[in-house]
């Protein structure tokens, strides 16, 4: 059933439990539907007027249907008590210890996601709405000692793999919803409130991308146009050892020609990004494009990214506030 549902790839620790539950409940739905459907069609055929000109006043006498209804109720109760409630409790009550987790503030606004890391000291610096400018969408007070090492990005969220992530979610203006399909999380971002959510990524974005990869046959003319929206998963090097295409680059007609020249007839390619933050709550005219990127990195890559961010920190905090 899970295959039939074609859910997005799952790169989180708890995702499997949700997917299994989705599968179980769809089994129930399917069985009920097919059962009733079969009964329905059989009845329509057997009791059509031509076949059964005189109706039977009394109709069905048995109590089978009551037992069936009770069975459905029991199944629902099992799903509810056995799975749904514990799963939810785990989501909202059993947060991982803060010291073992990557903690990120996310502040939504029309139409972007402001990502805020506490930096090396692990403490989020002071923010104030009076400091909000285009360059400082979080309103971070760089004069606050705790804020000096804080990292702020827009729409780019990086987290290390296999370590729980706690997101403290809020919004500056209207209600948004922080949805990451591949991580099986969704949480409304409500202005005036900070709501935490957590998940543990188990696959890096690269691994997820690799799982989404598709084989493409290269043909002189009529290569699937989809390929041109996809990116390469490895470097392609021609016979004369020039690089035709680097890993992560997009394909083009010219590239395809060069590849064919180099004797390559099939390539593995994948969609450009897979781990996306999708805004799920109508938040205005830009709702459709309120997309953020969640990059799940290996520990090394994450540290490297962090170091790079740190190196870009303003040296003179007061000047940064202006």
């Amino acid at each position: 059933m899970k295959e039939l549902l074609h859910l997005p790839l799952d790169g989180s620790a708890h995702g499997l439990a949700i997917d299994n539950m989705l599968a179980a409940i769809h089994w129930l739905m399917l069985i009920l539907f097919l059962g009733w459907g079969a009964f329905f069609i059989y009845t329509l055929i057997r009791f059509r007027k031509k076949k059964n000109p005189v109706a039977n006043y009394a109709g069905v006498k048995s109590h089978l249907s009551s037992y069936l209804e009770i069975a459905v109720a029991v199944f629902e109760a099992v799903l509810l008590i056995g799975f749904a409630v514990p799963l939810w409790a785990k989501r909202v009550n059993e947060f991982p210890a803060e010291k073992d987790a990557t903690i990120v503030r996310v502040v939504a606004e029309q139409y972007s996601w402001n990502i805020h890391y506490p930096g090396a000291d692990g403490i989020f610096g002071r923010t104030s709405i009076s400091l909000i400018t285009d360059d400082n969408p979080l309103g971070l007070d760089r004069t606050d000692p705790n804020a000096k090492d804080d990292i702020a990005t827009v729409n780019q969220m990086h987290v290390p793999v296999n370590k729980p992530v706690i997101v403290r979610l809020s919004s500056k203006d209207v209600i948004h919803s922080f949805g990451v399909p591949t991580m099986r999380v969704k949480q409304d971002a409500i202005p005036g409130q900070v709501i935490p959510l957590w998940f543990t990524p188990t696959l890096t974005t690269d691994q997820l991308v690799a799982e989404m990869a598709e084989q493409f046959q290269l043909k002189p003319e009529g290569t699937s146009p989809k390929l041109f929206e996809y990116i390469a998963l490895k470097d392609f090097i021609a016979k004369d050892s020039t690089v035709v295409l680097k890993k992560g680059d997009v394909f083009s007609q010219d590239v395809v020609k060069s590849l064919l020249d180099a004797g390559v007839t099939q390539v593995l390619a994948a969609p450009n990004v897979t781990t996306e933050i999708a805004c799920a709550q109508l938040c205005g005219l830009g709702h459709y494009r309120m997309r953020g990127y969640l990059s799940v990195d290996t520990k090394e890559a994450y540290d490297a990214w962090m170091a790079d961010q740190v190196s870009q920190l303003p040296q003179d905090p007061v000047a940064a506030v202006k």
């Binding site: 909202v92 709501i195 935490p196 959510l197």
Partner: protein
Amino acid sequence: MELTHAEDVKKHVRVYVTVFVALLALTIVTVTISYLNLSVVPAIIVALIIASIKGSLVASYFMHLISEKKLIFAALILTVVFFLALIFIPLLAMSDRIH
């Protein structure tokens, strides 16, 4: 209520006047208490109890609910149930939140 005799009505008029006096008295009581500067919770409880007594007096006697048909009671009980749900469930929802 089925009132057919003028005599009955007269009896009722006495009740109306009594209720009226009680309502005025309770109003004075509740205002006086509000100046006593009780702490918030007891103040709210007392004020709501008095208001409920006044409300029931109006409903029972002026609106004759006390002698009304059970059909109307049924409709009102249903309303009260949903009224309570409307008041208390959002409160519960506000207090039981992820934090």
